[in-house]
Amino acid sequence: MGSNMAECHPVGFQWVMEARLKGATVIHVDPRFTRTSANASFHVPIRAGSDIAFLGGIIHYICERDAIFRDYVVAYTNAATILQDDFKDTEDLDGLFSGWDPEKHSYDPGSWQYKDVEMHPSAGQREAPGPSAGADRFGGHGGLLAHGDPPHRDPTLQHPRCVYQILKRHYQRYTPELVEETCGVPRALFLKVAQALVDNSGPDRTSSFVYSVGWTQHTVGVQYIRTASIIQLLLGNIGRPGGGILALRGHASIQGSTDIPTLYDILPGYIPMPHAHEHPSLDEFVGRDAARTGGWGRMKPYLVSLLKAWWGEHARPDNDFAFSYLPRISGDHSAYQSALDMLDGKVKGYFLFGENPAVGSANSRLHRMALAGLDWLVVRDLVEIESAAFWYASPEIESGELSTTDIKTEVFLLPAAAHTEKDGSFTNTQRLLQWHHAAIEPRGDARSDLWFTYHLGRIIREKLKGSAEPRDRPVLELTWDYPLKGEHGEPSAEAVLKEVNGVDAQGKPVSGFLELKDDGSTACGCWIYSGSFRDGVNQTARRKPGREQTWVAPEWGWAWPANRRLLYNRASADPQGRPWSERKRYVFWDEEKRRWTGEDVPDFTPDKAPDYDPPEGATGDAALRGTSPFVMQADGQGWLVTPAGLKDGPLPTHYEPHESPVGNPLYGQQSNPTRQLYRRALNSYNENGAAERYPFVMTTYRLTEHHTAGGMSRFLPVLCELQPEMFCEVSPELARLRGLTNGGWATISSARAAIEARVLVTERVKPLTVRGRAIHQVGLPYHWGYRGISRGDAANDLFPLALDPNVHIQEVKAATCDIRPGRRRR
């Protein structure tokens, strides 16, 4: 669901095809019938933006039949935990949870907490926490776990305020009938999916979900994935071979760029960026943000080691390890907010590293206008992408809205080196780091981004040398000394990886994050990557052929953390530590050796016995039971209800997309109340009864033959001939309704913009019946722009900035539009 795997990850899809050939059932739930649908056992057409209703229906189906994997659910999830007395569900408040503040448009999540104990979100607070975040309620940290459990539990799952009963009640109205009405999925087809999942889960069998940006790019994107998590926990499909929720990420190292983030709200290894209002000192930061129990109990050694990696001898115990050198965040500083600030002239300079917002970001028109608001722009890319050429080639220049000579932006286009011209590691969608070796030297002025960043830093440091300004100390005292090689002075990528891996006081690479200390004796650039340079060997460059090792292939590349290939794999054994079944044997307890063992590196303290009972007052990992597989959670449990960490509620709830042709069938609350909106001229919305003007649902996607915003595909002749033009996909019914002809032109318009595209009329797109009404959908690949060999309008021009509140990701999988025959007006 939310993934078109055959088209977007074709080589990964070989495993799905192989499973299918061996008898597995493959179900594709998607608004369109794609190349994935064509190769699935069956396809379920669904209205874009209604997946939570569909998945909630499956939860209802499971609970109603009591089809849960009970032993797993009781032992490994928080199903038995009892919540606060004052928690109120969306069923009680017509689509809102308790804690809603209508003035601030946000929740106080305090009432979502467990009774008498405060849970911290597993990876800390990324931004300003909610108004009270439970602190007042519990007095600092509230109680700790007792024997590894929250204080109030009902293992019979009968207590009316236990998580399981709350969950059951929350989804009681998500019936097959409601699914049909909301999603346009016929009841029988829905039941076929639900039953298939239930039949294929249990001790002997596992099912998995695969998703991609078809789930994340919604105003409730995080909750889409949460809904799948609930299903998978109820059915016992997490931490077990053949199970899981597989996020298929879209770029070679997009996982890596989250782990070692070029993201504003986190530091390497998912440590939150310090917040101006909350974190004056290191200890307050760790105390406020890190859970005391579970794996995050060790945040301090990770953070201190990071500060040591960055500021070396200047990070000392007496200066809080230079914690004050880190810049502070004070709100949403995500890319969309930056673009709006560019429009307002607040951002002066901008760097684009292989990124093309003029085509690839939602409301791309707004981004092109924003680039024109900069003083200077540095574009590093292989080709002259649209974002580098906006000042003379954009549609806004063509239309006269912008004039080249009026645009003040200075633009530097610096040619980048390709992956074949530099050493380095990518982290793939399975958290696997794989090294690529330079094959040739880059030509001309082309350089790696490693080279660019290193030498930019070097030049700035030279220019600032001798400065007495306090603001220059962090950059002047930065550890910035890497061996250079070759005629260009390329920094050694292996030296950087070694710093990322971490070293001890003697400069010897540490073997893993458990060796990291909070006293300043270790330095480590990213604790979750610790071990990737174990024994001074680049583990990510390991290439023992797959056919010469076990099916888990542990000696190919290196997976974080600790080379574990399957996260939370303690759950592949039962509470006593035995495999749930011979067929699904993976990681288990060896009583003789008193250790966890199996096919993979156990994701568990290796010698923590299944019957381990935490002593009173224990913290960190020692506070978790021997039966708690989810070691990064404060209670070691899989969270069905999330007591902390989310801004839009503890349980996924069906909300309509921000722009939707239909009303919410479940609640008076139409859309996610906490969604992020930006009301301004360039970002107008279709709302409040304008349905007649934009009556159709539009959705964006990729094609196999192109890549994202086109910088890596529309400049390649061999790919352009396979998909040479921007097109839209419509059903024969919609074509008739609007007079569109196959192969002809259409203009698609939204409240933001109008674009043109060739028309592909296809039975693969079907109108869906939603509450008696035919809902038509328009499919739009988003690869095109105004540079390259194959050019066309950018689908992203049509979409608004309407974001998920947790992660600030835009809703481009469902919005509203109109479509008419003919080319757009010029």
Binding site: A6, E7, P10, V11, F13, Q14, M17, E18, A19, L21, K22, G23, A24, T25, F33, R35, T36, S37, A38, N39, F42, H43, A196, D199, N200, R547, L703, T704, E705, P717, V718, L719, C720, E721, L722, Q723, P724, E725, F727, N742, G743, R758, V759, L760, T762, E763, R764, I789, S790
Partner: protein, 278 residues
Amino acid sequence: MAVVSGPPPYPDTRVAQPRPGQAVGFFTDSSICIGCKACEVACKEWNHVPTDGFNFLGSSYDNTGELGANTWRHVTFAERPAAPGGGDGQMRWLMNSDVCKHCASAACLEVCPTGALMRTEFATVVVQEDVCNGCGYCVPACPFGVIDRREEDGRAFKCTLCYDRLKGGMQPACAQACPTQSIQFGPIEELRTRARRRLEQLRQEGRKEARLYGVDGSDNEVGGLHAFFLLMDEPGVYRLPTRPATTTRDLPAMWKAAAAAAGALAAGVLLAFAGKGR
């Protein structure tokens, strides 16, 4: 619900090593083709085949149209209603990677007056570009419309089954790239066995629409294909001729006459053959 068991039906074909003197070919199993076109790109990249134009055809996801001098692998897309009696009432999107069939009895080769077309030690049919003079006789001779002359160059081009790679012990580029092993390369006899086994499996699953195409001489008059297919519908759906026949069936007798005649006359006879084209 089907029970997952047993090994995958296909061995990992990338280990197949071509040996001279062994007849090799392709078995393309369209039932597992995902229409990604990796074969088209891998072919062009290895063989340095020029682009075939940038034309939006409005024909499902096919924008390269047909096999020709500049397209040696071509993925066809057919959007079809549910299979009669098969499937579960859902529409089907059929994909298949078409290629030169390397016919056992290859008309292109037989009509070639220069010897540019030859059968290799792998029993494949290739155009030798240093010999071809661009006469074009082969073009109408092909019952599948595969071989064609390159406009800017004049000579005839088509799939070589990566002759150079075969000679180096490598498998053809398309088969190596194919993500799902829809394109399988190997010794013809082994591929035939695999194809028949796969057909049997699909039949057992109730996929009555599955059929083999060109696996032997029974459905064609070209003596069987060295690149044969498993199809999920009529050949016409994949734009394949229903019963391909060698355009030079009567050739041996005519060759006798030709050999007895003067060269100029022979050329005239050949032109007559040419007229029998597609």
